[in-house]
Symmetry: C4
Subunit: 124 residues, 4 copies
């Protein structure tokens, strides 16, 4: 299937602090859902931008052919973890067209809050 | 009215578990809202992508001329239901231009959480 | 300022029932925020599509030059109100380029749930 | 990295009233997250449109090279603050391509509600 772009940007980024003891599913987190509809693997590089320091990364992920990967930003460790309670943005680049959607779950209060948006696609 | 595209992708997909006893309206669910503004019916095929197995589908839906269909992913049964608590993505293809919007209602806690985004449109 | 499109679609539409006594601000509702950045007024026509009946409308709104209008779907009365607890979609057409964003506030439970997305733009 | 546009619009805008005593992080607010992936600074001008008065601004912000700025609308003071409980829209213009995402946190009730969407991009 030929749908997707090779570059994407997510301007919003924030890992809410203080929910580390809730377990992986309910801990406040942000995710970039990466769909690779192609018949070959997608080699993906992620760069993280901050307000007051140089960018971090690139972080490398491979999404196999015809698979999806729901990548959580708080799981990124190499070359360095993303600090909590810090504004960031991300640029996602792939060697084949993919589709990227951004989601945040905020569990700082007793109830959940959710947001999601398709990321901004780069040129075709 | 000539608005829409013939292919769409939703990278985010997740049916939260544990709310099956809340009834159809308040059970946690995801929906793809499909608008067919054309004067002929839209024959729609949906393919579901997973993290660790081959894609499922296609699921077939017909949206009549000048009608909308709010399709819930937890209502898809043929060729197979989508498992809960599993990450997925979807690609939606139609023989006439349609408009697709993605929505999730999460009722795992006492209060509701909502997300929505226009899906990613394929080429014109 | 030259930003915007002359046609837009919102595939998702649903006015949650049962909160009519909460007052206008907290009653569950959906809105289409219409920005007219032009130096002339925007004459806007809205068509509402349903799952099982012919479309309603057009509803007519004028957004003055260099003004915004946060139009609530539950305020539309002419030619007919939109029923609650009913799936719908909308197509919004203007004689000058505008920008349209979709928002829903759900107050069926004690806490608020929000969703928002830029609508799908038609051709340039 | 060459991703982004020089103009963006956010049609939805509303600063919920009544949470001023919750502190800066949990006070109800809207933000425009501005990513500048370029090697030179982005000089950004923001114009605010209202329902019933002339636009306010421009507000000026500089986003340094390869940095992100999560700009809160309730922090804008010059030439005038944006009133609470008032509908508005915004147009964001930059001299180099940037990426803009819109987020609102609503803390009027005990729990949080969130919304987010990539803003509407102007022409390439």
């Amino acid at each position: 299937m030929s749908i997707g772009r090779k570059s994407w940007a997510i301007a919003e980024g924030y890992l809410p602090p203080g929910t580390e003891n809730l377990g992986h599913a309910f801990r406040s987190h942000e995710a970039a859902c990466l769909l690779n509809p192609n018949d070959q693997p997608a080699h993906v590089k992620i760069t993280i931008f901050f307000a007051d320091r140089d960018p971090a990364g690139p972080y490398s992920i491979t999404v196999p052919a015809r698979r999806t990967s729901h990548m959580r930003f708080d799981d990124l460790k190499d070359p360095e973890p993303i600090p909590r309670a810090t504004d960031y943005s991300s640029v996602i680049e792939s060697d084949v067209p993919i589709v990227v959607q951004h989601t945040r779950l905020d569990s700082r209060r007793a109830e959940l809050a959710l947001l999601s948006t398709i990321a901004f696609p780069g040129p075709e």
